[in-house]
């Protein structure tokens, strides 16, 4: 008797850990039963499926004397409902000056600095930010050289 009980208990434990547990048995003539089919938000490797990519170019060249220069980056996203990607562009050191190898400076400012998508799903959406350099106080006063600065892009998920 003890052996039988032990085997039965093992079977019960084995069934308990088996997935999925059968929750519905139909045992009547004309009987019906329902099975729920549902998706997970994780892929088969267990990774969260919702995600996005903001692709920013390595270099952005401003032609000499250009008072407004547009640059493009791209957003692709597949997020949860009512969520969207928002990207902010700003000067990394917040001084808003480009400098050359000799330490000479060229002031600038950024417009269209923030882009927020309208929904959770976008594919390769092009977003534009603008680098502005004043003609009189900027270009005209600067020795002709290569001035550069580093911009910081910050991406976050917001409510759409």
């Amino acid at each position: 008797m003890k052996k039988i009980l032990a085997v039965a208990l093992s079977l019960v434990m084995l069934l308990a850990v088996s997935v999925p547990a059968f929750a519905v048995d139909i045992a009547k003539d004309g009987g019906t039963g329902e099975a729920l089919v549902k998706t997970s938000t994780q892929n088969e490797d267990g990774e969260e499926a919702a995600g996005f990519t903001v692709s920013i170019p390595a270099e952005n060249i401003i032609p000499w004397d250009s008072t407004e220069t547009d640059f493009t980056y791209h957003i692709t996203s597949q997020l949860a409902p009512a969520k969207a990607v928002s990207v902010e562009v700003k000067d990394a050191d917040e001084v808003n000056q480009m400098t050359d190898v000799n330490g000479l400076t060229l002031p600038y400012w950024i417009t269209n600095a923030t882009a927020t998508m309208t929904g959770p799903i976008v594919t390769d959406q092009a977003c534009i930010f603008t680098i502005n350099v004043d003609s009189t106080d900027g270009w005209d006063k600067a020795p002709v050289s290569e001035y550069s600065d580093t911009l910081l892009f910050t991406a976050s998920i917001v409510d759409a």
Binding site: S55, I62, P63, D100, A155
Partner: protein, 159 residues
């Protein structure tokens, strides 16, 4: 297999030469990435941004019996760092003689013949050169309109 490899390699090479290369992808909430903005020394039309203009008057009047006459020219420049414009004034034929329509002559000399801008960026910087006529020359000259041609030479120099 070789054909597939060849196509795959072509695709890889094509992607390799495609511009611009994306240096950073941000994929996490609150994630950041950096990009460089940089000026070119060429304008959007492909022209070199650096340049200068030396403006010289077409005629420069020397009054009769003036022993020393200052004449002016201006320089406007936007050059690379540590670069300036040097302007040199000289008699074109180096005879240093003004002549009239009857070939009468009036000797002169030049002073302050070299001007150098102090900065790569100047706007209408004024420079003066001097035409000297000795009193003896004036006294010996027939009253007439004497003229000569001067040559201005501009070149970029380190400053």
């Amino acid at each position: 297999m070789k054909k597939i490899l060849a196509i795959a390699l072509s695709v890889v090479m094509l992607l390799a030469v495609s511009v611009p290369a994306f240096a950073a992808d941000i994929t996490t909430d609150g994630g950041t990435g950096t990009a460089i903005i940089k000026t070119s020394t060429q304008t959007s039309g492909g022209e070199e941004g650096a340049g200068f203009t030396v403006s010289i008057p077409a005629e420069n009047t020397i009054y009769w019996k003036a022993l020393s006459t200052d004449l002016k020219y201006t320089v406007t420049s936007q050059l690379g760092p540590n670069t300036g414009v040097q302007v040199t004034v000289d008699d074109t034929d180096k005879a240093y003689v003004m002549t009239d329509e009857n070939d009468y002559t009036l000797a002169y000399s030049l002073a302050n013949t070299t001007g150098i801008t102090a900065s790569p960026v100047v706007n209408g910087a004024e420079f003066t050169y001097t035409v000297n006529v000795a009193e003896e020359a004036w006294n010996a000259a027939v009253v007439s309109e004497y003229a000569d041609e001067l040559t201005f030479t501009a070149e970029l120099v380190a400053i």
